[in-house]
């Protein structure tokens, strides 16, 4: 006996199991990042208006052009992720390989840029212990980086070792790309919130 609705949607709910699962997972992730953004608001509101501990303007400390580049990198990777899924839906496996490859490359590019950015902060002796602004910056972006790494591991698995499933169960494999894509878009979306909050405001 097999577990039903692993591939085809259940008629009365309209989704297959993994799709409901990933939406629930993302709901939980929203609460995680929501709590962190709320913490950001609470600490910022509590900071003094002037003086040593006053809240700095993000763009005075952080590099907006670098972050803007990274924003573009992630948005592009979200687009290629959709293209990868669409290729499979159109039964074009070679195109899928290409678009997934680009997605992974863009994800890695994001990490490399982020690495340089962290490094320049450390060189200027800016650490989480420096100020609460730096602390929340490192915490939220750090957690986001962990999510990017997690997404890259999944994407890499689906790119090379897990792609064998295309031969045995193409529909389910297409679903897997859709689910991984939903997660990837979420990671992208977190960054899109994170960029203005930390760098611009």
């Amino acid at each position: 006996m097999n577990i039903p609705f692993t591939t085809n949607p259940r008629p009365d709910t309209g989704v297959y199991n993994a799709k409901l699962g990933i939406w629930l997972f993302l709901a939980s992730e929203v609460m995680l990042f929501g709590a962190l953004f709320s913490s950001y608001i609470l600490i910022r509101v509590g900071a003094p208006e002037v003086g040593e501990n006053a809240w700095p303007l993000g763009s005075d400390i952080l590099s907006v052009p670098v972050a803007f580049t990274n924003t573009m990198v992630l948005i592009t990777s979200s687009i290629t992720m959709v293209m990868a899924w669409a290729s499979l839906a159109m039964k074009k496996f070679d195109k899928y390989k290409m678009f997934m490859g680009i997605t992974i490359a863009l994800g890695l590019t994001f990490l490399v840029i982020k690495g340089f950015e962290y490094n320049s902060k450390f060189e200027h002796h800016l650490f989480p212990s420096t100020s609460n602004f730096m602390a929340i910056y490192f915490t939220i972006t750090g957690l986001h980086v962990l999510h990017v790494i997690g997404g890259l591991i999944v994407n890499f698995y689906l790119w090379i070792p897990g792609a064998k499933m295309w031969e045995s169960d193409p529909e389910r494999f297409t679903n897997r790309i859709e689910v991984a894509g939903l997660y990837w878009h979420f990671v992208d979306l977190v960054w899109i919130f994170l960029f203005p909050v930390l760098y611009l405001l």
Binding site: M1, L20, G21, A35, F127, A135
Partner: protein
């Protein structure tokens, strides 16, 4: 083909057989085995958490006296010459709470009962994601080990209370870091588990099993899983922030100018200790309903079955549960009335707190009215269920003065609070767990537990558990603080109520002895209990009516059932038997 492969492997050599054992019983992906793994592990943690408390109760009853007999078991840094050090007492308190909530009761009601019963009750062959289910158990197991490792850290296990309030917890010994890491594992585990339960209920319901035909237990599990899914992440965020504070020296929870041991700390400052409390209670209040909702689910099943009549107000119970789930996200700051949030915020949370008592009362009232006019079978499971109702009632009603800001000023952080929530969780949820164990034991093992031992276990537990917790109300009303290492001996206003300490401690130790009949019963019945039929209690829900006891190893059902009727069709007029199973056409 599957059957022939199985047959072949059973004739194979020894090494092959061992491998099979590992996959069948250790790294199993069968929800029933995982449920049992959760159950056994969590029962061990329940016992361990209780042991920590029994040690504390010695110190409270006889402060400063050497503990007899077992004093040699402890190191110089915890109990030199058998006399408990204050730091160790604090560790015991923090770990008792942590272990009982996160490692014992929630894994029992959700991990064990939820895992085992939800797929059976919805007529599914397994959980929606069996491998995630296995991962959920093992991540929980690792989290438990990490928590225990804390006891061997320099300075001992976490000692800032189970709530880990900063700044104290930020400057506490290494055990606190271990506690935070352990929590990350436990949160991950509950995330995987709750996702799985929701998808299973939504997607894998058998044909004909519409929402209002779901057993109340499954409804309770559904709402509980949503609470776990959405309330735990903020605690994870809080845990990450506290880890940052402890490991990188950030100041999320550290206010400017904090003085420790006479010296101003060299930190950036500007943080807010209240932020932790908000994030913590945003989890920990829904967590209270995670503890109680599945218990209400268990009680509903046991009561419907043993009164031989339908639950009174099944639909209102379901709607009340859903409402309760939503509103439980809006009451958290009633734990923080005395932090100086301001009267406007206090008034808001006082109002929501009064509102949330309504659905709880609806559910409890429906369960009580369900008893009316039934020909009740007083077996062990039903005795525990009957005791649950007034015990949970006491726990709930004593919560009202704590939810009102004016009376909370007096009662906050006294033994009254301890009495209140222990009535909800101990003779409440833990009694429901016992009811559930007696009720579903025949399904899991194919044999019934001994009724005589069960009744001894029940009556002794009922007496002694009240002996522990009722005097706490008296002490608390007199203003005795809950965090006193000597039980109040050095406080003038506590003098008149010190005599209760010894009484409560002796009750606690006797309660431990009262568990012996249960432990004997639990193990003896596994092999030599009275054989139980497939539907031992003449029940209507699918786990009893559609499968064997114990259910088939792989796939649960010989034929996946189709559902035709509601969950509690007992004593339907005109039928020749007093129960009509859900899968009976």
């Amino acid at each position: 083909m599957d059957a022939s492969v199985k047959e072949k492997s059973s004739h194979d050599d020894h090494s092959h057989h061992e491998e099979a054992f590992i996959w069948k019983y250790v790294f199993s992906i069968d929800h029933k085995v995982i449920g049992i793994q959760y159950g056994v592990t969590a029962l061990l943690f329940l016992f361990f958490g209780f042991t920590l408390m029994m040690l504390m109760r010695w110190q409270l009853a006889y402060p400063g006296e050497a503990i007899p007999v077992i004093s040699g078991l402890f190191s110089e840094t915890t109990m030199p010459d058998g006399i408990m050090l204050p730091e160790f007492y604090n560790s015991l308190g923090a770990m008792h709470g942590t272990i009982m909530v996160f490692l014992a009761v929630v894994p029992l009601v959700v991990g064990a009962f939820g895992n085992y019963l939800v797929p059976l009750q919805v007529g599914a062959i397994d959980m929606a994601f069996p491998k995630l289910n296995m991962a959920s158990y093992w991540v929980y197991f690792v989290g438990g080990i990490v928590m225990l490792v804390g006891f061997w850290m320099p300075g001992g296990a976490a000692n800032s209370g189970w709530t880990s309030y900063p700044p104290l917890s930020n400057i506490a010994t290494t055990g606190q870091t271990v506690w935070l890491l352990g929590m990350v594992f436990l949160i991950t585990s509950s995330l995987l588990g709750s996702m799985n339960i929701i998808v299973t209920i939504v997607q894998l319901r058998a044909e004909g099993l519409t929402w209002m035909k779901l057993p109340f237990f499954t409804w309770a599990q559904l709402v509980t899983s949503f609470l776990l899914l959405l309330a735990f992440p903020p605690l994870e965020a809080a845990g990450v922030l506290q880890l940052m504070d402890r490991l990188t020296g950030s100041s999320f929870f550290m206010p400017s100018g904090l003085v420790v041991s006479g010296e101003v700390l060299d930190i950036a400052g500007g943080g807010s200790p209240l932020l932790w409390q908000h994030l913590f209670w945003f989890l920990a209040h829904p967590e209270v309903y995670v503890l109680i909702l599945p218990a209400l689910g268990i009680i509903a099943e046991v009561i419907a079955n043993n009164t031989r009549k339908p639950l009174w107000g099944y639909k209102s119970m379901v709607y009340a549960t859903i409402f309760l789930g939503f509103i439980s996200f809006t009451v958290w700051a009633h734990h923080m009335f005395l932090t100086g949030m301001g009267t406007a915020i206090n008034a808001f949370f006082q109002t929501t707190t009064m509102i949330i008592s309504i659905p709880s009362v609806i559910i409890l009232t429906a369960l009580m009215i369900s008893l009316w006019g039934g020909s009740i079978r007083f077996n062990s499971a039903m005795l525990f269920a009957c005791a649950f109702l007034p015990m949970f009632g006491i726990g709930g009603l004593t919560g009202l003065p704590l939810g009102l800001t004016a009376s909370d000023i007096h009662l906050h952080d006294t033994y009254y609070v301890i009495g209140h929530f222990h009535y909800v969780v101990a003779p409440g949820t833990i009694f429901a767990i016992f009811a559930g164990i007696y009720y579903w034991y025949p399904k899991v093992t194919g044999r019934a537990m001994n009724e005589m031992l069960g009744k001894i276990h029940f009556w002794l537990s009922l007496i002694f558990i009240n002996g522990i917790f009722f005097p706490m109300f008296i002490q608390g009303l007199a203003g005795v603080s809950r965090r006193l290492y000597d039980g109040g001996a050095s406080y003038a206003h506590a003098q008149d109520y010190l005599y209760l300490n010894e009484f409560m401690s002796i009750s606690a130790w006797l309660l431990a002895l009262a568990q012996i009949p249960f432990i004997i019963n639990f193990f003896i019945s596994w092999k030599s209990g009275q054989k139980a039929g497939d539907n031992h209690w003449d029940a209507t829900t699918l786990e009893w009516s559609a499968t064997t006891s114990p259910p088939l190893g792989h796939g649960n059902f010989e034929v996946v059932p189709t559902v035709y009727r509601g969950p509690y069709e007992y004593s339907v007029p005109g039928k020749d038997k007093d129960f009509t199973p859900q899968n009976e056409a």
